[in-house]
Amino acid sequence: MTSTRNVIAAALVVVIGLALIYTVTASLPPFGSFPTRYVDGKIESAVGEAYLENAIWQTGATNVVTTIVWGYRGYDTLGESTVLFTAVVGVIMIFRALRREE
């Protein structure tokens, strides 16, 4: 198991892991600073702050996360329901072909 190809691949995985850790801890804003976002050197405010201020009196529901899922981003959830339906159809198709082979 210690051929040269395996050693090079293991070193590559270690290098990728260290590069990912360095990139994340050096160039992202520090952990826990939610409303500040750095876009091209300027400080902008995030979209989540606008959702937190307006979602409760506009829809009358107290759970902000599920209001975003169906109220503000409803088309994405509709697409996800279609993906679920398509996956179920694909699994049924594969197993019906398996049963017909016997």
């Binding site: 994340v24 952990f31 995030a46």
Partner: protein, 121 residues
């Protein structure tokens, strides 16, 4: 406690998933590697929207006395909504991948990726 421990663990999970995809030859172990990598990505997305000393974004009168104070103390709700969608899609992808593994085992008789490449029927 080291600040930013969430980021380091998420990157370690992604690196472990890449290692499993490169080094294993069994088809089922490749599916496990994909699932571990997806979990690392979800952890990274959620921990990008954290506020120090924040509360859950669900409003009730015992947690915050008024609406403006609730909006000034709550955690970011947008990445949590997107990860909710992503978890369901991950279920569908894993189910389809596993059923394709069963179909390949019926056809070739083996689950080794180096042997499947050579049998052509």
């Amino acid at each position: 406690m080291i600040m930013g421990l969430n980021y380091i663990v998420a990157m370690l999970l992604i690196a472990a998933g890449i290692y499993c995809l490169l080094f294993k030859r069994n088809l089922l172990k490749l599916v496990i590697g994909l699932a571990v990598m997806t979990d690392g990505i979800h952890l990274f997305l959620i921990s990008m929207g954290y506020r120090l000393g924040g509360i859950v974004p669900i409003f009730s009168s015992e947690v915050a006395p008024s609406l403006s104070e609730f909006a000034a103390r709550a955690v970011d709700p947008l990445p949590q909504a997107l990860v909710l969608t992503s978890i369901v899609i991950n279920i569908c992808v894993t189910a389809l991948a596993l059923s394709l593994c069963i179909y390949a085992y019926r056809h070739y008789g083996t689950l080794d990726t180096t042997k499947i490449r050579r049998l052509k029927e």
